[in-house]
C-alpha cells in the first residue's frame, strides 16, 4: 500500500468519525464549571506531608545524637547517625520529586514532559534503595559493651547471623533494585501492585525516550562521544 493510500484510508476514517461522533456540549460545559486539579496536584499533599514528617523525625534523632553524644553507647550513636543520614537523603529525593512536580508542564513537547514524569516516578526506586539500606541499623542500635562482654556464644552467634544477613540483604537490594532487574521474580515480589506497576511501565517508556534522544543528537555529537 502506498503512502497516499494510507493517508486516504485515514481520511476516510476521519470522515466517518466526523459523521458519527457526537459532542456532548453539556458535559464539556460542566467541566469548565468544575474546580479541576492540575495534572499532578494529587501527588503534592502526600509528598509535603512525608517531607514535613521526615524533617521532624530527623530533627528529633539529631537532637538525641547531639545531647547523648558523650553518654550514649557507641553502637547506638553509629546506628542513629547512619539512620539519620540515609533518611535525610530520602527526604532530599522527596524534595527533588516535589520540584519535578512543580516543573512538569503538559503544554511542553512530549519528550520533555514524559522524561520529567518518568524521572519523578523512577526516583521512587531510589527511596526504596535507601530505606532498605538502613535496615541493618535496627539490629545494632541496642548493642552495648556490656552485652558483648557478658553474652554467651549462642546469643552472640544469633546476633551476628541476624545482623550479617540484614547487612548482606540491604547491600544486595541497594545494588540490585534497578530497572534492568524489572523482570526478575524477586523484583516482582517486592514491587507489585497498584503503586508500583505504573512505575515499571513508565520505566519501559524511558528506554524509548533514551532511544529518541540518542537519535536526536547531531551526528557529530554521537561520533565524538
Amino acid at each position: 500500500m502506498e503512502d497516499t493510500e494510507i493517508i486516504n484510508l485515514w481520511k476516510s476514517y476521519d470522515r466517518k468519525l466526523e459523521e458519527s461522533l457526537l459532542f456532548n456540549q453539556k458535559n464539556a460545559e460542566e467541566i469548565t464549571k468544575l474546580k479541576v486539579r492540575s495534572f499532578l496536584s494529587s501527588m503534592k499533599p502526600m509528598k509535603i506531608f512525608i517531607i514535613l514528617t521526615g524533617i521532624v523525625w530527623v530533627g528529633f534523632v539529631d537532637v538525641l545524637i547531639v545531647n547523648l553524644f558523650t553518654v550514649a553507647n557507641p553502637f547506638f550513636l553509629v546506628s542513629a547517625i547512619i539512620h539519620v543520614l540515609l533518611t535525610k537523603l530520602a527526604i532530599g529525593i522527596y524534595l527533588y520529586q516535589l520540584i519535578l512536580i512543580y516543573q512538569v508542564d503538559i503544554n511542553e513537547p512530549i519528550l520533555a514532559t514524559q522524561e520529567k514524569l518518568i524521572r519523578l516516578r523512577s526516583s521512587t526506586l531510589w527511596i526504596s534503595r535507601l530505606l532498605f539500606l538502613q535496615i541493618p541499623v535496627w539490629t545494632t542500635f541496642y548493642w552495648s559493651k556490656n552485652m558483648l562482654e557478658n553474652g554467651n556464644i549462642w546469643t552472640h552467634s544469633f546476633q551476628f547471623i541476624v545482623t550479617a544477613s540484614f547487612i548482606y540483604l540491604a547491600i544486595w537490594l541497594f545494588l540490585n533494585i534497578k530497572y534492568e532487574n524489572k523482570d526478575k521474580k524477586w523484583f516482582h515480589l517486592l514491587f507489585n501492585g497498584i503503586e508500583w506497576n505504573p512505575l515499571i511501565k513508565s520505566m519501559e517508556l524511558l528506554s524509548q525516550i533514551d532511544e529518541y534522544k540518542i537519535e536526536n543528537k547531531p551526528f557529530n555529537e554521537i561520533k565524538g562521544s
Partner: protein, 167 residues
C-alpha cells in the same frame, strides 16, 4: 475575556477538535470505559491549560501536545477510574449508535491494529503523520529534530507497508 466568553471559546475549540481527541484516545485505550475516561481527562487538562495557551503555536499543536501527554501518562495508571478528576457519568464524545463500527473496513482494521501495536512514542508519531502534520509541527509537538522525525516516520512506514503486504 470574562469567564463565559472563555468557556464558550474553549467549547468551540473542543467541538472543532473532537475528532483529534477521539482518535488519540482510541489509539491509546481500546477499552470503551477507559477511553471515555481518557477523553474526559484530556478535556479537563485542556481546560486547565486553556488560559496559558500561547498563540506562539497553533491550537492544533497545543491540543496534540496536551492530549498526547495525557494519553501516554494515562495508559500507565492503574485503577484509572479513580484517577480521573471528577468522573462524569456520561462521556463527552460518543459514537452514534447507528454507526456499525468505525473499524468495519478491513484495511482500516489492519491500520488500527498496527497503531495499537506500536510503542507509545512511535504511536504519537504515526498519528501525527496520518493527520498530515508537517515535519516541523511534528518536531515541535514531540520535541525532537525534523531529521529525527523523518527517520522515525520512515521506519514506521516500512513496518506498516510490510504489515499490509503480508496479508
Amino acid at each position: 475575556m470574562n469567564s463565559t466568553e472563555k468557556s464558550d471559546s474553549f467549547l468551540s475549540v473542543i467541538a472543532s477538535s473532537k475528532g483529534i481527541i477521539f482518535k488519540i484516545a482510541n489509539s491509546y485505550c481500546k477499552n470503551s470505559e477507559d477511553r471515555k475516561d481518557l477523553v474526559q481527562e484530556i478535556v479537563v487538562q485542556l481546560w486547565k491549560s486553556f488560559e496559558n495557551y500561547s498563540d506562539q503555536y497553533k491550537y492544533s499543536t497545543w491540543i496534540y501536545r496536551i492530549a498526547l501527554n495525557v494519553a501516554i501518562s494515562f495508559y500507565r495508571k492503574e485503577n484509572r477510574r479513580r484517577q480521573v478528576s471528577n468522573p462524569l457519568s456520561e462521556g463527552i464524545l460518543n459514537l452514534a449508535e447507528t454507526t456499525v463500527a468505525e473499524e468495519s473496513d478491513e484495511n482500516m482494521l489492519v491500520l488500527q491494529q498496527f497503531i495499537s501495536s506500536l510503542k507509545e512514542l512511535d504511536k504519537a508519531l504515526i498519528l501525527l503523520y496520518l493527520e498530515e502534520k508537517n515535519y516541523k509541527e511534528i518536531a515541535e509537538i514531540i520535541g525532537i529534530t525534523e531529521t529525527n522525525v523523518a527517520t522515525k516516520i520512515g521506519r514506521i512506514k516500512i513496518q506498516l507497508k510490510q504489515k499490509f503486504s503480508s496479508r
